[in-house]
Symmetry: C2
Subunit: 109 residues, 2 copies
């Protein structure tokens, strides 16, 4: 569950601009601010089930956007390379070694 | 016009997965393979005006996606940094200089 929350937080971060204002509100309350479905239902004066359905649909949309655009996956790949590059920098690398990293970063786009 | 074509080629590259198969076909024929509106109309047996309207709408969609997700803009910023980093590598930079670039790259996401 924690893993899913982390993933949803990232996907929300990357794709929130493609959601409707209502979808953004529910997702932010549920995933970022850790409100319960009941609390959100009360705040918006709708049924708990309606909140649940909306959030489930939004989660599916976020996963579909990720399937198509891979922004989270590419972000992770870039961060991984950048971390390796930082580690390599501590070992007095040659210019060639550094260039290899930089070219891998370039190719990721 | 050449500038617009280049921009549309990039936007198409970043967002084509969000288009319908028909939109993708028309855009690819027009922008990537440089067919005329008339040639596309003949190929699909529809009016030149219908092809034009479809392509105009698709261009607007691509610009709206870019407004929301900024994938092309971020790509350009990253490429610019990577090119600067490559240039700096030729000048025997200190680790601190290199680290500054790497951290700028990290922050771009």
């Amino acid at each position: 569950m924690l893993e899913k929350t982390t993933r949803m937080n990232y996907l929300y971060d990357f794709y929130q601009s493609l959601l409707t204002p209502k979808q953004r509100s529910y997702m932010a309350l549920y995933y970022l601010e850790d409100n319960s479905l009941g609390e959100i239902a009360e705040e918006y004066n709708i049924s708990r089930q309606a909140v649940y359905d909306n959030i489930k649909r939004t989660e599916q949309m976020l996963e579909q956007y990720e399937e198509k655009l891979l922004l989270f996956q590419k972000f992770q790949e870039r961060q991984e390379l950048i971390n390796q590059l930082k580690g390599t920098l501590l070992t007095n690398p040659s210019k060639e070694e550094l260039l290899t990293f930089i070219e891998s970063l370039e190719k990721l786009d």
